[in-house]
């Protein structure tokens, strides 16, 4: 049985990992939290990305513990930047990556509705998720059209004439998005997106004992840190 956390629990974990960044927690606290977060990947069957994240984190910690004490000059600067700058972000990346890759849009919407977030915020969020993949596709079409017209061909051209290239890409992209936005509004209005009253969700989410357990587990390192134990 694979582990499935409630989106609200995932949100809580995301907030926790952000706290590691702001509170400058000790390395030991950080490792405890990261171990807990990484186990989520393995428990939910995301072994591949779990291993990848583990490898990155381990090598950064190793650099911090074993290489930095003996390094000098440029190597020292470079490694400190890596181990401090990137490693501190990693807990957020790990919990964020987990939340994104395991939450469907339906679950997200349902969680937002349960948190009593108003529809005027929920609908733009859903729209953004819907729009992203289309932008990548639109971009490919536009680059093709530019190649056939002999405009900014090759990747170097984008660097040589950034402003002009941006204009050639942005104008069709925006014009097209405008059309899509209108079609989308029309279609969703006929499906009742603007209906007054409560909107429900087909997807059901429920906080279970596992959710609470995990939330408590992940809070322990902080309590220990703040209590001065670690």
């Amino acid at each position: 049985m694979k582990l499935r956390l409630d989106p609200r629990a995932k949100l809580f974990l995301l907030v926790l990992s952000n706290l590691t960044l702001f509170l400058h927690v000790s390395l030991r606290t950080e490792i405890m939290l990261v171990v807990l977060l990484l186990s989520l990947y393995f428990l939910s069957g995301k072994t591949k990305s779990g291993l990848r994240m583990t490898a990155v984190y381990l090598s950064l910690v190793a650099a911090d513990l074993f290489v930095i004490p003996i390094a000098e000059g440029f190597v020292l600067n470079f490694l400190s930047m890596l181990s401090v700058g990137i490693r501190m972000m990693l807990p957020c990346v790990i919990s964020g990556g987990y939340a994104f890759s395991t939450t469907t849009v339906g679950e997200m919407v349902c969680a937002m509705r349960k948190l009593k977030i108003p529809e005027v915020i929920i609908i733009p969020c859903v729209t953004v998720v819907r729009f992203f993949p289309t932008i990548a596709e639109d971009y490919r079409h536009i680059r093709n059209a530019m190649a056939l017209r002999g405009i900014a061909t090759g990747n170097m051209a984008l660097l040589r004439h950034p402003v002009q290239s941006l204009e050639y890409i942005l104008i069709p992209l925006l014009m097209n998005s405008n059309n899509v936005a209108q079609d989308l509004s029309v279609a969703s209005m006929t499906k009742g997106i603007s209906m007054p009253g409560v909107h429900t969700s087909m997807t059901e989410i429920k906080m279970t004992k596992t959710d609470y357990l995990y939330m408590v587990l992940c809070t322990i390192p902080f309590v220990l840190f703040l209590g001065g134990v670690m």
């Binding site: 849009v105 059209a145 056939l148 097209n176 029309v186 499906k191 009742g192 209906m195 009253g197 429900t200």
Partner: protein, 464 residues
């Protein structure tokens, strides 16, 4: 039931009425087809019937139009939601969710139905139309036809009494149309009232009860399905309408697939060509291909047999997976090729029509001549994005003509066009041919292929 009395509508920012004193009654359970040239007012009528005008598409309304007791202009758009289901033209832009099941659930969620009821209804609806295999799929991975089937099912989720379809098939191939046809037939048999605004008339002829012909915003005539079927093809053509029976055109197109290429110096030639986007995507096999100057070649076949992939490879936008192609270098092929895309919005970059057609033009001195020939001279200072869809397409064709390139691909140039506008595009193809250009037309339009292509190449699934 729908009852319209002396109803007129004029969109804001326009100077003519889109619909002029319309009187029409549609009885419960009836299937009415609205036909006529683009801009004749049929889409406007669908918007009055499903409440989008004047609530969303603003304008001035006169007279009355009632849909199952809802008075247009007085009833809110939300009042229409449980009564009317709508399906639109573009399969790409009418779904709000990223997966199919969520899209079906969407109307029910908006109505505040409890989760268990929604799940039940989704399962029931999927079973009714035999689309269970489409559930829980990412909408981005569906074909146009599959998207349109989901869109139709989603429109039926709240069991509406009326279904309004606005050119639902313009982007579909014949297989996909057949699926949609069966779904509509099922709803009609259940007693749902159906209104379809459509250019392609053949596929719907056995479901339709009545045909309404519009011209310049006026309802010019109504026929029962039987009477309409008796109208000769010439009469339909003079009305700007597509034929009710496409089988003769299909036979002609098939006949043309036996023609051999004419000429001895091909612009592009390929042998044993495999085309595809590379890893993790399908590869299509094309045994041989060649195209000569002054030829119009139709490229036909179902959605997803690799027509666009082949065309992109021929234009040099994609590297062939394997096989021989001449010119061999992608860059050389790009230099000699031009493509008029199905969605021309992607290829218009400039502030005015004149600048647009001069961008990258090899023969700028011909600019006025070409603009005049395409009827674009009087709008040469306008912004391309302010033009209508057909005018934008003509701008793209003008770019192609001025580019001096010898190989021009047009991707579905006649999708969603009535007979009159289809022949206009066909004449442009002939102009390109006169310029001694090699023209490749990707199309589902058998009427176009039969009438204007010198030969036809059918790609089929078997050759994958």
């Amino acid at each position: 039931m729908i009852k319209s009395e002396n109803c007129s509508f004029q969109y804001n920012g326009t100077d003519t009425k889109a619909l002029k004193s319309l009187n029409i009654t549609v009885n419960p359970g009836e299937c009415v087809v609205l036909c006529g040239k683009s801009g004749c007012g049929k889409t406007t009528l669908t918007r009055l019937v499903n409440g989008l005008s004047p609530s969303f598409f603003y304008g001035e309304l006169e007279g009355s139009c009632a849909t199952f007791g809802l008075q247009v202009g007085r009833a809110a758009i939300e009042d229409y939601v449980p009564v009317v289901g709508s399906v639109f033209q573009n399969p790409k832009t009418q779904y709000f969710n990223v997966d199919t099941t969520a899209e079906l659930a969407f109307p029910c969620e908006n109505m505040g139905m409890p989760s268990a009821r929604i799940k039940e209804r989704v399962a029931e609806c999927a079973a009714e139309f035999g689309i269970e295999y489409l559930l829980d799929r990412s909408i981005f991975r569906l074909s146009g036809g599959e998207k349109q089937r989901i869109a139709f099912a989603a429109a039926c989720m709240l069991k509406p009494q009326l279904l309004v379809l606005d050119e639902p098939t313009s982007n579909l191939d014949y297989k996909a149309i057949a699926h949609l046809h069966d779904m509509i037939a099922k709803k009609k048999a259940e007693g749902t009232t159906i209104i379809i605004a459509e250019h392609r008339l053949a596929w719907i002829s056995d479901i339709a009860d009545r045909y309404c012909f519009f011209e310049n915003g006026t309802l010019k005539g109504q026929w029962s399905a039987d009477d309409f079927r008796k109208l000769p093809v010439e009469t339909l053509q003079s009305m700007g309408l597509r034929p009710l029976d496409i089988s003769p055109y299909h036979r002609q197109a098939v006949e043309k697939s036996k023609n051999r290429p004419a000429g001895d110096s091909p612009v592009i030639r390929a042998e044993n060509l495999s085309v595809g986007y590379g890893k993790n995507s399908p590869v299509y096999y094309v045994p041989d291909f060649e195209i000569h100057k002054g030829e119009i070649v139709g490229l036909m076949g179902h959605n997803g047999v690799g027509k666009s992939t082949l065309a992109k490879t021929l234009c040099g936008l994609l590297k062939p997976v394997s096989g021989v192609i001449a010119p061999a270098k992608d860059k050389d092929r790009i230099r000699h090729s031009f493509m008029v895309m199905q969605d021309v919005n992607y290829q218009l970059f400039s502030d005015s029509v004149r600048e647009e057609v001069l961008l990258g033009a090899a023969n700028p001195e011909m600019c006025d001549e070409v603009l005049a020939a395409l009827g674009l001279l009087e709008m040469s200072d306008r912004h391309p994005m302010s033009l209508s869809g057909g005018q934008k397409q003509r701008v793209a064709i003008a770019c192609a003509m001025l580019s001096g390139k010898e190989f021009i691909v047009l991707d579905e140039p006649t999708s969603g066009l009535d007979y009159y506008h289809m022949t206009q595009v066909a004449q442009l193809l002939s102009k390109l041919k006169e310029q001694n250009t090699a023209v490749l037309v990707i199309t589902h339009d058998e009427e176009l292929a039969a009438g204007w292509c010198d030969r036809v190449i059918y790609l089929d699934d078997k050759e994958k």
